[in-house]
Symmetry: C2
Subunit: 780 residues, 2 copies
């Protein structure tokens, strides 16, 4: 039992210290707390197991865990792959944590776009997230052109140090993200006045107004060396690896302590235990680090191997405890820059990014470092000495995948460590939305409303699952895989669709039919998201495509949230127009080109709103030779190999397209809306969103077309365009709910609500939809 609550903790700590001192005299120092030193610590680790015994030889007690204290964690993260890694790291931290947490994320625009949405939709109680702009932190790269920049390729390596899984055959580097920030651009402050990046926004109601603050250093940094980009670096993490050096200046000045983590570490324990080690710091110590578990800094790995200076084996910077307050007081910004500048007179570049500089500073000022027990950073590099640490330890705390090979590193026990990593990689992140009972905290923004709405639902209501599903906030991870946004072109079209695991095999065919940009929402579990990743990596067709953006929406609840998925994919489309399709349709090979040509010819704009109809057909054969022209489509129709879509079960859905007229048409022709019409259309990106009340199957597209008509979009059928539905077995969701007798009733209830809203918004103009609804017919 450990003391909880500060006053008790202090009393108990004082008591224990006193008593242990007595014990030390009684037992002559023979009692050793912790596992046998030689075994647990890497040889030469000056601390390993006894971290913090600076002033006497006494053995400190296990420091008390900080009950309910807010813990701060800083992570540098850039690009798509690194963002996925960060999520896995955060999942491992959240799994074991019992304290409120504040994540300080230094990101590029790509990572920020991904992570802001992710945390916003994750809604984890007692977790705050703040973002800091990495681009500003590394600014000034060209101010010192006499240094050779060893970063390969363009200046925007999207991966921070510590990236979990740069897939086989995938490039770890990518181009800069052209996504324009949604925040208003603030003019850069004059150098020397403010070196802090703006804390642009904290995700969960943490409305810190800190936009720019005066630098706290005793002497202002010279303007020609504002941040880190002047440092030549050979490490695969690129400049992002160096950003840990500027955290004391970049993080809010009131922040006194922070744990800094690489994205390639995995927690196997409560992060509060790591935080508690701050208590071991002497007055002089400012940085807590674990010894480096390789011989790199000994400098004897190969002939002419000349590493940066370090104390013995040096320290690894994958896990750092920083006393920010003391670092600022001690003039850290000056200190590391002086050391780095001096070393760079004789060394060409850093090899291990920030780690080289931290070690060089520590070599000069050994008193700054508090060595941490090795279990807090078990390093799995190729020639790791980590086994000396963990072979006797039954309680590993943090695993560090610090080899560029990541999970594919060769190591006698790598299976063990992979299992730990896979645990969190595949862990259902929804399960981490759990309260901290011991530490009451306000619910995340939006969560309270959702909870209240959910609480008001009647579990006995036959449509309970319907109502529950549409209130569910799904975690969303946009651009799950590397993605190159399309160059801006005025008539470009993105294909928008959604799918779950059982339609993955459609992707290759779809890629062959549609060379243009796509925005696809995938409804997956965390484990399925990894299967999906491997599927893409294994496919030459999919790996080759850079203009397909995959957005993972995490599964929750029994009904397929079809319209929420469509809205996610639609919101992420980056071209002026979108083709709203479904995953089991293959468009004509020429459709992408034809659409752009039509859009250019039709001269649509803000004064003429139109939805271009792509006529839909279907084949009932599962071996099928795809027609290459309208003439071939007509021939197949005539021979009975092709039908107009849902001709047998639901002709109303597409009848208004007027297939007879399409046969003869040479130019686009206008058609009128009619009840239950649900064509596949091309519309401007800013078209109305889908109504998220429609979940599962039925009427989800119909409602959207009603909305387009209500907003007076012209419906124009394209004379050469076509898309064909391929046969497939019934999906699990559809078979589950087709048989449900209450399903149709619930759908009807949702339709009624939809029409009420329609009348409210469009008044008398919406009357025709209600009238149409009253005509007898079978539901979609």
């Amino acid at each position: 039992m450990l003391p909880r609550g500060r006053p008790r903790a202090l009393g108990a700590a004082a008591l224990l210290l006193l008593l242990l001192l007595i014990g030390f005299f009684l037992f002559g120092g023979d009692v050793e707390y912790g596992r046998p030193r030689g075994a647990a610590a890497v040889d030469g680790d000056p601390s390993a197991d006894r971290g913090g015994r600076n002033h006497s030889d006494c053995v400190p007690p296990r420091p008390p865990l900080p009950k309910c204290e807010l813990l701060h964690v800083a992570i540098v993260c850039a690009g798509h792959n690194s963002s996925r890694d960060l999520v896995t790291l955060v999942k491992s931290v959240l799994f074991y944590r019992k304290n409120p947490l504040h994540f300080h994320l230094v990101t590029d625009a790509m990572a920020r776009n991904i992570l802001e949405m992710l945390f916003h939709t994750w809604m984890v109680p007692a977790v705050r997230v703040s973002f800091y702009d990495a681009e500003e932190l590394k600014a000034g790269a060209l101010a010192l052109p006499h240094f050779f920049l060893a970063v390969p390729g363009p200046f925007f390596p999207p991966r921070a140090s510590g990236v979990g899984a740069c897939g086989r055959g995938q490039s770890c580097l990518g181009p800069p993200s052209p996504i324009t920030p949604t925040e208003p651009q603030i003019p850069h402050p004059p150098w020397g006045v403010c070196l802090l990046p703006r804390v642009t926004r904290s995700v969960f109601g943490h409305s810190s107004a800190l936009l720019c603050q005066v630098h706290a250093l005793s002497s202002p940094t010279p303007p020609q060396q504002p941040q880190v980009s002047w440092i030549p670096n050979k490490h695969y993490s690129g400049l992002y690896g160096l950003m840990k050096l500027v955290l004391p200046a970049a993080l809010p000045p009131e922040l006194a302590r922070v744990i800094v983590l690489d994205t390639d570490v995995t927690f196997a324990s409560d992060i509060a235990e790591l935080w508690a080690l701050f208590a071991h710091f002497s007055d002089e110590q400012v940085i807590g680090l674990v010894e480096n578990q390789s011989d790199w800094y000994l400098g004897n790995l190969w002939r002419n191997h000349r590493p940066w200076p370090a104390l013995g084996r040096g320290f690894n910077t994958g896990v750092i405890l920083l006393r920010l307050d003391r670092l600022r007081q001690a003039g850290w910004g000056q200190m590391w820059k002086l050391t780095a500048t001096r070393e760079l007179l004789t060394l060409p570049a850093t090899s291990l990014a920030d780690q080289d500089i931290f070690n060089a500073v520590i070599k000069e000022h050994p008193g700054l470092v508090q060595p941490l027990p090795c279990v807090w950073n078990v390093q799995l590099s190729d020639h790791t000495l980590a086994e000396r640490c963990y072979s006797e330890a039954s309680d590993l705390k943090v695993i560090h995948w610090n080899s560029p090979k990541k999970l594919r590193v060769k190591n006698k026990h790598v299976e063990y460590f992979r299992n730990l990593y896979l645990t969190f990689l595949e862990y259902d992140g929804n399960l981490l939305r759990r309260e901290l009972f011991g530490c009451p905290s306000p619910p995340p923004a939006g969560a309270e409303q959702v909870q209240r709405a959910l609480a008001q639902l009647d579990e006995e209501d036959a449509c309970f699952e319907f109502r529950q599903q549409r209130l569910t906030v799904h975690r969303v991870h946009v651009t799950f895989l590397p993605h190159e946004p399309p160059p801006p072109r005025p008539h470009d079209v993105t294909l928008v669709a959604q799918l779950s695991m059982d339609r993955l095999q459609m992707l290759e065919a779809l890629c062959r039919h549609w060379p243009g940009p796509m925005s696809l929402a995938l409804y997956l579990t965390d484990a399925e998201a990894q299967q999906f990743l491997r599927f893409v990596e294994a496919s030459a067709v999919l790996s080759a495509r850079q203009n397909v953006a995959y957005h993972v929406v995490y599964r929750e609840g029994p009904l397929y949230p079809v319209n929420q998925l469509r809205n996610v994919a639609l919101a992420q489309a980056l071209t002026p127009y979108v083709f709203l399709s479904d995953i089991d349709f293959l468009p004509a090979y020429s459709l992408y080109d034809d659409l752009r040509a039509s859009l250019e010819q039709l001269k649509l704009g803000s004064e003429r709103r139109a939805a271009l109809v792509v006529p839909a057909f279907e084949t009932l054969h599962y071996r099928f030779s795809f027609p290459s022209s309208k003439a071939e489509v007509l021939a197949l129709l005539d021979s009975g190999s092709l039908y107009t879509f849902r001709y047998h079960e639901w002709p109303r859905g597409h009848a208004p397209t007027d297939y007879a007229r399409w046969r003869e048409a040479q130019t686009p022709y206008r058609v009128q809306w009619a009840a239950d019409y649900e064509p596949y259309v091309v519309v401007p990106r800013d078209c109305p969103r889908y109504d998220p009340r429609f979940v599962g199957f039925g009427w989800n597209k119909v409602a959207h077309i009603v909305e387009l008509d209500a907003q007076e979009y012209e419906l124009l059928v394209l004379p050469e365009a076509f898309t064909i539905h391929l046969p497939h077995g019934p999906s699990l969701d559809i078979s589950r709910f087709r048989s449900s007798p209450t399903y149709r009733d619930c759908l009807q209830a949702v339709k009624d609500e939809f029409h009420q809203d329609l009348s409210r918004r469009y008044g008398a103009a919406a009357l025709k939809y209600l009238t149409a609804l009253r005509q007898p017919r079978s539901p979609a």
Copy 2:
């Protein structure tokens, strides 16, 4: 830092005790370790946080965790549903454990059949499992006929106390399992000489020869009350709930301590922390328990509510620490029986099974109990007072789903607890196959060979994934759902097939086409197994079927282990004959009846070995009206709506069936084997197994038919039988590997190995297969 290693631990513990005593005097007892007492403990809990301060008022330190000590856990488990619950519990224990574990499982035949296979294939290092026969422990039910047996239905309730998820609409009771034990029957020893059940087998090389031992009680138990079945009991757990009372006698006499768990508890911490609480026991104490977190034993819940006697709120027996050695010495067997017999003079039956009796004994002998902190058994019943325990605790240790409603219990924080439970329900059990570095232990039986074989593989070999997959030992959970084996009938046939998640929607149709028994292997992840469970529960067709056995084979590796799956399903078939089918085939509605009639007429037996061929057809239409007779099949063939199976791509596979002859046939006719023949056949259950080397797709059935032919099975085509393949999209596995250029080469290599083995086993007779192989053709 805590002491590790026994001598150090003892020294440290003694030191701490001494020093803390001094501390107590110095601080006048004001220092309180642990969280505030009133908040953390349920009111009236005499121990909660200070467990073990018996001899003085001093505050004990957190007891040292037992490094590498083997911890013993006993669990009573009966039936299919309880077995699933046990797996979830064990997963939660294994996730946090750092010690070797020995599980002592008291099971009925059903649970044993399931769990023996499960643990054998799970291969978790440093885990031993022993089984004890529950039927023997409860024997003697009719010896005391004057007691009314309140167990509903037959005497074989398949659920122990603490069952996680008795699904909606599913009966929690089932018939006895007719599966005959594979162990030789040992005659029951005379009463009074041996009351121990035989320790029939320990799964992992723990060859305890303990078959029957002399009872250790001071006076032998009277022969008319041998075990527990004489006790009337109203609890839903049935007699299994009472079996915890006889554990001191049932477990091996050398076993001194054990943790006893209900199957409906979930661990959220390292079980060694619980084990460490044994250190708090005084010399007199024998049972560690957490206070009951309801008002049940206060006896004021309703008018005439008369619970069994208890100290205050009494104790809950979902989590028990038992000092078996002391219990045996103290004559526990006599003690509880005397108390129970006396109470049963005035009370009609136990309401809460063993818990009533434990409490009555403790009421009489309060010195026996060591109260445990409430966090070790947080009870989630409907009117639980548990919130008083956990509302202040940030570290819950064990959750107990002790409401009959289980996960559907109403509770302000039930979402939180459900998340913990779902974590382990859906956790990939393969990831728990991790070594304990700190505690070296021999690998599980078989694991070493597998590891050695895997280590010899060359990762650069193009067929590496093939070779790796076939060496993989998959975890197998047979009869995942309740299942009623078919009554023994000499000509009965079980349909055998395998599937993964993407074919689940075939099950309902298959059930409509085949009313007979089925044995199906499902290749799933742990999370998918839960989706599958919900799918079956939601389907009226599937829920109604008791003669379909579902065997879950857990996914591991990139290739579909088709033949391993077939072998699992085949091994679990319980009828004399099996129909070896594939999941995307629907048999003629009359096939089950026709086959049994044919088998009876053909008088097959040990002297005449035959494989009855069921001709296979296919439709390319996904809307299809199934033919009800051979005449209709012929008509559809003639109209081009139906084809012989794989007529377009691979006619060799079924050509030897001789469809032309089938057209006219009135009686079974014999056909000859030919290369690449792969018909669907009915064979005796003891037919050759499938060759597990064939993984993924290709030649897996062909090899089996070769084997049948080599063993001189006659191939007899049935004149009225037929089965039809339905179209479906390509599976993920098939699309992944059809495109792989090395796939065909690897398949060829496996074929070559197969033929070499064939020659070795059948000599010259196998020559014809090699000759046939050399004919040019495209691979299957």
